[in-house]
Symmetry: C2
Subunit: 182 residues, 2 copies
């Protein structure tokens, strides 16, 4: 079977899930495909773009909510994004850095911006960006602390607060969207 960028991205996701982001190296991916590291550069320009492709793959798995009102839609979107990120080890860190660097073809805020604009909500761009930053930052912390718990470095009590804190942050932002300016 010949090498392809799809196969390379798939191997990257497998290594990400099993060993974490730090172990997704060009050499490890090449090993998993039974090939020399240099061979990857025939199908992928560099490591950054490989990671961006993995990030895109994860973002494609986010379910688009079929929302009634804006508040419910945003809440469902944030929850769906969180679930998609929690499905892959270190996904929040990976997606956050790929997004900050402007790499990645998939824009997770696209649908949300359109809905906010259609309902006449002000600043759809900045609003979705704020929600995205909160979700990525929160899930990143969730994923690193859950790894600490797995390693026995931290107690599990700190871990359980994660879901409640997430819901509260989403509530604050959604309330802000619903509230008129003073």
């Amino acid at each position: 079977m010949a090498l392809s960028s799809e196969a390379i991205v798939d191997a990257g996701i497998r290594i990400l899930d099993e060993y974490g982001l730090a172990d997704v190296s060009m050499r490890r991916v090449a090993d998993a495909l039974g090939v020399q590291a240099g061979a990857l550069y025939y199908h992928v320009p560099n490591k950054q773009s490989l990671l961006a492709a993995v990030s895109d793959e994860i973002l494609r798995s986010v379910e688009v909510p079929s929302g009634a009102n804006v508040a419910e839609w945003l809440t469902a979107w944030a929850g769906g994004l969180r679930r998609a990120l929690l499905a892959h080890r270190d996904a929040a860190e990976l997606v956050a850095s790929a997004h900050a660097l402007g790499l990645g073809a998939v824009d997770p805020c696209e649908g949300g911006r359109a809905i906010l604009e259609a309902r006449g909500v002000p600043e759809p761009d900045a609003t979705m960006a704020a929600l995205l930053h909160f979700v990525l930052g929160h899930v990143n912390e969730e994923q690193t602390t859950s790894q600490m718990v797995a390693l026995g470095v931290i107690e599990e009590s700190a871990h359980r607060a994660g879901e409640d804190h997430f819901a509260w942050g989403v509530t604050l932002l959604v309330r802000g969207v619903q509230t008129q300016a003073a």
Copy 2:
């Protein structure tokens, strides 16, 4: 002059400011101090704790607002944190990862939690965490795009939207804090 953990952290900050987080390696820090890389391990346990110490140093430079009401205090705090981060290259990424990993002795949310609790605002912990995640995520994006602008990869227009988007995100969260639950 003998080596010390303070001198090592200072050298780390200088390299961070001049060359960015990717160039803060144990070997580069050692070079800047005219010493072998292995010598650092006599004063610092590993690279992670060195980066955490640099993160702490940056967080210590955040000015504590002398706020009137809660909304003004939170807005001033977010702005002050942003300014402190913008003062050092890649600071948001550095502080975010140090914070997510639970390293670092300085807790940037400490003062805010106390104030929220004193005013009877619910969920001070989750509220400050939400604000912190937004600020770190936003400034991280600001700093990476400003580097893209410096490299000529991106146009400057995208950069100028940063400050407005930041103010809007803070507004949403502060409105959420002020609004009663439904």
